[in-house]
Symmetry: C2
Subunit: 364 residues, 2 copies
């Protein structure tokens, strides 16, 4: 009798971080595509663009002038999604069981948002930066995390969680191509993060072990989803990946947040980020779009929050078949559940085989 | 002192269907946009395209020839995400507490997928179809639902839930522009649907009332999110909408599934879909992209499933500012939580004011 073949037969995999399922349909990548073509990345962008809001010395959209910064540079977002001050939200605290109290739950959210220009150069994406310059990005993230925690503690600023992330490429909604990340700091822990904290807590309660300690062990044994590793971190395509070439960078040992990183860990993170993004660019010989970000402990975390936090990064890249054909997470995915067209093991094998040291543009 | 203003101050709203939060940042739509431009819809597509896999009489990618169909036409998807037959998945049912059993949860999924050509005409999107032809689409959905339920009952086919949906426009990953929807039928209830069933059950348990009965009542009283209504259905921008102009079509009375629709309900659904999509097209004078789909009772539902099911449709349209600038749910949204740039009430007001009867192309 025929055997179940994970690279041919449809199955669902469970994501223990978000407590949800993903449909895996390995045979579906063969279907014809007459849909949207992404714009391929423009090669040879200039190192300085006089029209860019983020380049050193230029005026931003609000008229503020950027300094002539020479390394990683952080400034407050001119169009912040949250603000430090706003009037309190009036609450119906009568406790009455009205339809409104049942169905329209709402919270005020204050906070602050920042833009992090990785370097002064308009054309240096992460894979093209020198490792020593990438260490400056990690330093900037650490400094920001520590500063926000201190402001919350000492100045009572409404900061509880800082979500550090990067949207790279127009396909991932990046609104300015100067390489930059963002940090949105809120007085609430965002849903994804609080769901992860909950899952880690539940796992610890059930198994008296850290979910990521077990997961790191299992992936080092199985090796089929492993892409890269160094002393401090590993890169895997998660068993439950949604995006075609989704990966996680996971700290091999428990570190609650970037605040605790020593010099080796900073260099190891810079190095593995450079290697991973070089592989991504080499996959379809294009500047590979993605959204990525850090999940770690809330600011001034409680004991329980600290217990349930483990530094890791998620990379969500949309490209599926080529530099111009992406995966759309649309109809079935939005109404039913996320669906993918190749297995995580197939994706990991392709990424593993690619050069992580030399960028394709250097070979042209 | 300044008052909290929902159309200016940031807040989070709770979605009781999916048990999750959305960040609302009403002031953010003003930021500059140098990002991706969507291709505007091509006007004057021909009624027949000899290269289209879906037009009547043409060959599909697999070589099968389409019949000369004259009304809504359903056929099995040549690149189905799930299949009726596949070998069983071997399970480690030793019950041992291994890391693999803890972390790699997996299920086999069988089923079948269908394509539903709305009409033979290559250029007739829903807003451009005659209402009587749209009733044929509703009929086809009903017939498919009933057939699949019967095949599950009588022929033991692995069918438990049929997710009916449409991806419209290249921005929503549509791979063929001939107006069509899809139906993916699985032996498992997809995550989104099972989460809704759970939420409806919880609400009933806590309040001894149907969530949608209460919600329909509240939205008819408040009116600020109401877009359209007729005897059988209402269209609202949900209080917890994520996409800029997201809407739901909700049955005003409890109907568990399309299987129970009478002639009036079919005509009312056809009519309100035509009006809603006409408004969408009129908003930015473009063929408005969206993903939409039906949530309803599982096939051959248990008593409890029937109790917790209420026919409704979700429309997820991506456009934000114009025919060419969409909302990207990316970095913060993927890592943190969904975020929107205008309030649901602002979106509803704009949709309400638009003409739902005359399509902009008829006025050109
Ligand atoms: O089935 P299609 O139209 O080829 O494909 C489209 O819809 C599917 C179901 O939502 C998605 O999985 C695909 O990513 C999308 O491109
Ligand atoms: O802040 P930006 O780069 O202007 O905007 C981008 O990132 C934000 C945070 O993920 C998203 O809300 C926007 O939709 C996206 O276009």
């Amino acid at each position: 009798a025929q055997q179940f073949d994970f690279s041919d037969h449809s199955h669902r995999r469970y994501n223990p971080l978000t407590d949800s399922w993903i449909l895996v349909s390995p045979h579906r990548a063969k279907r014809p595509w007459l849909g949207q073509q992404e714009a391929p990345s423009k090669p040879n962008a200039p190192a300085y663009d006089s029209k860019c809001y983020l380049c050193p010395g230029n005026d931003r959209a609000t008229g503020v002038q950027n300094p002539n910064y020479e390394s990683t540079y952080i400034f407050p977002n001119d169009y912040a999604a949250v603000k430090i001050d706003q009037p309190p939200l009036p609450h119906d605290d009568s406790g009455k069981d009205t339809l409104k109290n049942r169905l329209f739950k709402v919270q005020s959210v204050r906070g602050n948002c920042f833009v992090i220009c990785f370097s002064p150069k308009h054309n240096l994406t992460i894979p093209l930066m020198k490792q020593s310059d990438l260490v400056q990005v990690v330093n900037a993230w650490q400094r920001l995390y520590n500063d926000l925690a201190r402001e919350a503690r000492e100045d009572h600023k409404p900061f509880k969680y800082v979500q550090i992330f990067e949207n790279k490429g127009t396909a991932m909604g990046c609104s300015n191509l100067h390489p930059h990340g963002q940090a949105w700091c809120l007085e609430a822990i965002p849903s994804e993060v609080s769901q992860e904290l909950k899952s880690f807590g539940k796992y610890k309660h059930e198994h008296n072990a850290d979910l990521f300690a077990d997961y790191v062990k299992l992936e080092s044994e199985e090796k089929s989803r492993l892409v890269l590793e160094n002393d401090s971190f590993m890169v895997v395509v998660p068993y439950w990946a949604v995006w075609p070439f989704e990966t996680m960078i996971i700290s091999k040992k428990k570190i609650a947040s970037i605040s605790h990183f020593d010099q080796t860990q900073k260099e190891d993170l810079a190095s593995i980020m450079k290697q991973l993004t070089t592989k991504y660019d080499n996959l379809f010989e294009t500047s590979f779009p993605y959204s990525m970000g850090i999940h770690q402990a809330p600011l001034n975390a409680t004991g329980e929050e600290l217990n349930n936090s483990w530094f890791h990064m998620h990379f969500y890249p949309p490209l599926l078949r080529s530099a111009t054909v992406r995966k759309f997470l649309v109809g079935f995915e939005l109404l039913g559940e996320p669906q993918r067209d190749l297995t995580p093991e197939q994706a990991a094998e392709r990424l593993r085989k690619l050069d992580g040291n030399v960028h394709y543009s250097e070979k042209l």
